[in-house]
Amino acid sequence: MVSKLKTGPLGLQSIYFKDAPGLLSWASIAGKKEGEGPLGSYFDEIIDDAAFGQDTWEEGESEFMEAACKLALKKAGLTAKDIRYLYGGDLLGQLIATTFGIKNMEIPFFGLYGACSTMGEALSLASMCLAGGFADNVIATASSHFGGAEKNFRFPLEYGNQRPPYSTWTVTGSGAFVLSRTKGDIVIRGITTGKIKDYGIKDSMNMGASMAPAAASTIYQHFQDFSSTPENYDRIFTGDLGKVGQEILLKLLEENNLDISKQHRDCGIEIFNPDTQNTGCGGSGCGCSAITLAGYITKQMLEGSWKRVLFVPTGALLSTVSFNEGQSIPGIAHAVLFETRKHQ
């Protein structure tokens, strides 16, 4: 495992942070179904009303994000004025959930679209900004919403249809993180930015198969760049590959002589119980990895169960237009390396 003297580019796709930026505080706001899942007890708040007291799914999703940002700020003992930049995104067209959710906080804003990998993209850019000395505190956030995503990408919720057994269920929820240049018990030691990988999968319900090559590519390159092996990590969390995607990821890496089966977990697999919740292959959406990180992973790290975790949210970069026009589904994955500060 690499240990460098200074912050800078590492290998082909990574950055190493010597004085690593840290997570000052975080918050997870989850929907009802997520609250009923195996990770339910880890979330800060569970909102039973999917519209969060609003008229539409979209406004509801904005409320989830605003609530997550405000709770994270409150936990950090800061106000919106202390935040230099906000990096955030969601799945809806033109990022409307994020835009309307954060507009009243009046924080300088970078809107990000990385499909379901957005949480990793936001944390990557936020940590670069801090390590570069351009800010003391920034926020990284992402959200998704089952109702909004179904309406936007598939069918109205009231429409009766059968989901194939390999489909995934979009998570309703938002996770937000306040990052600090110098403080925090959990730090970001480095990042590995993913390349777009397209192996020609065309079934938009089979998200796991379209994203697994991107996850494999990013994780493989991370090991190369950091001169590390799977044994150096307590856990490697992908975002929302689901069961099919997990099987593919392990096989693709195995063919390159990497066995991560002991360390690998998938946020989408952890968040729902497919037997009782009818969620198919697992959870998906930006919110899936965001609330799993903010609720579950950070807690395990604070308690000392895990000291080094690679967080790799995965995104399927399709739109209804590209799908209808017969294009395949490109995938992307961004890795963020978390360590507990004591572990240095």
Binding site: Y159, G160, P165, I201, N206
Partner: protein, 154 residues
């Protein structure tokens, strides 16, 4: 990565490991659901013929109207999706499925307004069925007309 599969090899591998729906069980569920809906239709028709002095054609129309009403009502109460999730094509092929496909977008897109919401999007799912249904009837009508002119059909 050092070793990457070819696109063809990858797609073939994905096809192999992706779990498939059980066709036999799905067919049975569809048979039960579709059969139940059609039985209900037959009950309505027989009841109408028994109690009211109407023709068979009129009784058939009552079946259609009542089944559509029930489907829209169950869609509004968010019960129909559960029936369709279990029964699959058995719930989608009868006229109740068509009614559901019209009612569902109307409910979902009502928030976007009477014109651009309901007006534009009410037929997003049913539209193709209506368009190609009418178009194929048109073609069939022309063929029937020609066939009669030529004396091939009575």
């Amino acid at each position: 990565m050092k070793k990457e599969p070819s696109k063809d090899a990858y797609n073939q591998y994905v096809e192999e490991i992706t779990p498939k729906a059980n066709v036999a069980i799905n067919c049975l569920k569809a048979f039960i659901t579709g059969g139940a809906i059609c039985t209900l239709g037959q009950i309505i028709k027989n009841t109408a013929l028994y109690f009211f002095p109407i023709s068979e054609v009129s009784a058939g129309l009552w079946v259609t109207v009542i089944l559509i009403f029930l489907s829209v009502l169950l869609t509004g109460l968010n019960i129909y999706p559960s029936i369709a999730n279990w029964g699959g094509a058995g719930a989608l092929v009868p006229i109740t499925g068509f009614a559901n496909s019209v009612a569902a977008p109307a409910i979902e897109f009502q928030k976007e307004g009477q014109v651009f919401g309901i007006g534009v999007k009410i037929f997003t799912i049913a539209g193709p069925v209506i368009l190609y249904g009418i178009f194929s009837s048109f073609i069939a009508g022309i063929l029937y007309y020609i066939a009669r002119l030529m004396g091939w059909m009575a």
